[in-house]
């Protein structure tokens, strides 16, 4: 879902940011297992990184607002069930009730040894020339798709300036719904805080997003 709780830019009410001194990488052993399991299942290629994000965005707001690794765990359970890897009955039973299905890809110990983050590249050959160049004024579209998008609400229908062309990348809005890579040009677009938040906003502040070409109109 696009207009769900995950799209937080500009919201009020979450209180102060509370940095933790000497923070450990994980705060509980179960968080480690959730992290590694989600990475490992992501490497099967059965869903894309944006498909995984969409699953989290589709959680109910109250579930989403639990801690980070609670959320990851809830999303992982949903993903493995949705892709027919695990049955609801097995989740309820807490154990496997039937053999697994075959996987094309599996994260082996050898692959894990080199793990340093998402491993698949997202850049793709361009299907055509970029429509915009650095310096162009653009207006973001006002879109509200019921499916995944990476155009945040606060930056819809706003006028900004293209600062850089970042190459041609997998289009999240398509990849999340299983519609393929649908590669699109990607641009860093800069907005003044006043354009985003109104005349009272701090004139020394600007905000950029990285926006895919289908999000943009000439302005």
């Amino acid at each position: 879902m696009t207009n769900s709780i995950h799209d937080m830019g500009g919201m009020h009410g979450f209180g102060p940011v509370e940095p933790e001194a000497d923070e450990p990488v994980f705060h509980a052993d179960w968080e480690k297992r959730v992290f590694a399991t989600r990475v490992s299942m992501g490497a099967t290629g059965l869903w894309t990184i944006d498909g995984g994000r969409a699953t989290l965005e589709n959680l109910s707001p109250l579930t989403y607002l639990q801690s980070y690794y609670h959320r990851w765990f809830s999303g992982l359970e949903r993903s493995v069930v949705a892709h027919g890897l695990v049955g609801e009955d097995e989740i309820a039973a807490g154990r496997s009730l039937r053999p697994g299905r075959g996987l094309n890809r599996r994260l082996t110990l050898d692959i894990a040894k080199n793990f340093r983050g998402p491993m698949a590249p997202f850049e793709r050959p361009a299907p055509g020339p970029a429509r915009f160049k650095a310096g162009d004024r653009v207006r973001t579209r006002n879109i509200n798709p019921p499916t995944h998008t990476r155009l945040p609400r606060y930056a819809r229908g706003k006028v900004g300036v293209v600062e850089a062309v970042r190459g041609c990348h997998v289009f999240p809005d398509s990849a999340a719904i299983g519609a393929g890579d649908n590669p699109q040009w990607l641009y860093t677009v800069v907005f003044s805080a006043r354009e985003l938040w109104g005349d009272e906003a701090d004139p020394t502040v600007s905000v950029s997003i990285d926006a895919f070409e289908p999000y943009l109109l000439a302005a």
Partner: protein
């Protein structure tokens, strides 16, 4: 979990009563891992390895080396700002972030801050996994609308006329802030300088440490 929840705004209040909740999460997570292992989808040894990598191999020490190199080597700095993916890969010997790392330089006139308002995108391979505050709802919601307020919560106050630029990580591009080199570090080695580079200074919610803050050091 207790510490995580303590720092995650908006969580359900009963999370603080972590006795039963914690054991329930432990049990649910263990059950799912068991199911996935029995079905042959995951290898527990590979999971152990992933945890080991993120706890010991990746982390802000990598980013700190990159920043220190940029402070002492103008040609490396030029390459880093032109194409951070290439510069970092040639320096540390691995593909840093899938494909697209972007380095942005703080100056006396311009201060950069990185956020991911939509989820928790962060340059894992050069900074490690993000801290809880980076993933918190407070940071994700406010960095784009109240960056000076957020900086104040990190104890950072910039001159009033410093321009602030927020980078919202909405695609698979990842951002590394190149903080300003602290005064009083002329002649310092790359290794010594790297000790001054904090994780927060590479996200833009902090500044590099001054020599005084970094004391005691061998040099003093």
């Amino acid at each position: 979990m207790a510490a995580d929840d303590h720092h995650s705004s908006g969580h359900h209040p009963h999370d603080h009563d972590h006795g039963s909740e914690l054991s329930e999460m432990q049990l649910r997570v263990r059950a799912l891992e068991t199911i996935l292992t029995e079905k042959g989808y995951v290898d527990p040894a590979a999971l152990d390895q992933i945890v080991e990598n993120v706890e010991t191999k990746i982390g802000p020490h990598i980013g700190a080396r990159i920043v220190a190199r940029a402070w002492v080597d103008p040609e490396f700095k030029r390459r880093l700002l032109a194409d951070a993916t290439e510069a970092v890969n040639s320096m540390v010997g691995f593909d840093p972030v899938s494909s697209h790392l972007i380095a942005v330089e703080n100056t006396p006139r311009l201060h950069h801050i990185v956020v991911c308002t939509l989820c928790s995108c962060y340059p894992w391979s050069v900074l490690g996994l993000p801290p809880v505050w980076y993933k918190s709802f407070a940071y994700r919601s406010r960095a784009v609308i109240d960056p000076k307020g957020v900086l104040a919560e990190f104890g950072v106050t910039l001159p009033a006329d410093t321009e602030i630029r927020i980078w919202d990580s909405t695609a698979e591009t990842r951002f590394l802030v190149l903080p300003m080199r602290p005064n009083g570090t002329d002649g310092w080695s790359e290794e010594e300088l790297a000790e001054l580079v904090t994780r927060d200074s590479m996200v833009g919610t902090g500044l590099a440490k001054s020599p005084q803050e970094a004391a005691p050091r061998a040099k003093q």
